[in-house]
Symmetry: C2
Subunit: 160 residues, 2 copies
DNA sequence: CCGTTACGTTTACAGTTGTAAACTAAATGC
DNA sequence: GCATTTAGTTTACAACTGTAAACGTAACGG
C-alpha cells in the first residue's frame, strides 16, 4: 500500500489518540495532548491540519465540528517507520540487533513462547547477503584491495 | 552515555562510510556517496560539517586535509534511534512487533539458534504494564467510563 | 611565480517540524 | 440580537534537513 509514510513525532502523538479512540474531535485530542505534552489547541490544530493534508486523517463533518478518523493502522505504520531505520544497517547485522531488542523488551511468558515458536517456524537461508553499497560496510572489504579501488571495479548499485 | 543523538538519513550515509573504514577523508566519503546517492562534494561537505559540529565526527588534521573519525558506534547509534521509535507504542504491543521483525529479517540457522537461546534465557515478567498516557491506548479503557472522564480522574503522567 | 587543484567554510534556499498566535465564521447564552 | 465560546484556517517563525553553489586559501605542476 502506502510506501513511505512520514509521521513526525508530534504528529504521531495525535495519531495515537485517534488510534486509541477510533474517532476523535479536535477537542478530544487537545484534551489528551495538553495533558501529556502541554500543547495548546493551536498546536494540536496545526498537527491535525498537517495530518489531514497528508491524507493520514479523514475529517467527517458532524454538526459544526469535525470528527477525525484514520485509515492507517498503528502497527502497520510503526512497522514502516522501523523498516526505514532498519535500512540503515547491513542485513547481516540485523539478527544481532534483534537479539538486543528481545533482551530489552519486557514480556510475559506467553510472549516469549510465541516468539520462540515464530523462530522455530522461521525459514532460514544459507547465507544472508550483504546489501550494502561498497564502502559502507566491512563485508565488502574482503573483495579486492581498498574500498576505493573496489568501488571503481565493482558494479555500482544505485539503490540500497 | 549520549541520550538522544539525532542523525538524519543523509547524515547517516556519511556515518556509515566512516564506520566502515574507521577513518575517512572528505574525498573518501564523497567517492562513496556520489556513487550511491549522486551527491556532489558540496553536499557531502555540508553533511560532514553538520556532523562535526554536532560532535558526532572528529576531524584530525593530516597535512592539508582532515581525517574524520567518530566516537559513536554504529550498533549503539541504531539502537538509540530504534528505541526512539519504540517509544511510540504501548509496551504491551512490543512483543508482537518483535514477532513481525523476526519474521521479516532474513537470517541463517545460527542466528535463529542464537535468538532462541536469547529468548530461553530471557527473564519474563508477570505482567507488562501499559505505559501509555490515558487516551492514547485502549489498555486504559477498562478503567472507568470514557477516556475523557478517566483523564480527569486519574493522575496525569507528565512523561512517557 | 602563477594558474589550477583540492580542501574547508560560508551562504543559499526550499521543505519539514515544533509550537503557537491571529483571524474568521458559526453557534450559543442570555 | 449581540457578546462569547468554539471551531477551523491562515500566518508565523525558528530549527533542522536535503541539496548545493560560491568563496577563500593553501599546495602543486610546470
Amino acid at each position: 500500500m502506502s510506501e513511505n509514510l512520514n509521521i513526525s513525532d508530534a504528529e504521531w502523538e495525535v495519531m495515537r489518540v485517534v488510534w486509541a479512540s477510533g474517532e476523535s474531535t479536535s477537542q478530544d485530542i487537545t484534551q489528551v495532548l495538553s495533558g501529556k505534552r502541554g500543547w495548546t489547541q493551536s498546536t494540536v490544530k496545526t498537527l491535525i491540519g498537517r495530518l489531514t493534508s497528508k491524507g493520514y486523517l479523514q475529517a467527517r463533518e458532524d454538526g459544526r465540528r469535525f470528527v477525525y478518523t484514520t485509515h492507517l493502522e498503528e502497527p502497520e505504520s510503526l512497522k514502516l517507520e522501523i523498516e526505514g531505520l532498519l535500512g540503515r544497517i547491513c542485513s547481516r547485522k540485523k539478527p544481532n540487533l534483534l537479539a538486543y531488542l528481545i533482551e530489552k523488551t519486557p514480556m510475559i511468558d506467553q510472549d516469549r513462547a510465541m516468539l520462540i515458536k515464530v523462530l522455530q517456524n522461521k525459514q532460514v537461508v544459507a547465507e544472508v547477503p550483504c546489501d550494502c553499497f561498497p564502502g559502507q560496510c566491512t563485508c565488502h572489504l574482503h573483495a579486492s584491495g581498498t574500498i576505493l579501488s573496489s568501488l571503481s571495479l565493482e558494479e555500482k548499485k544505485h539503490e540500497n
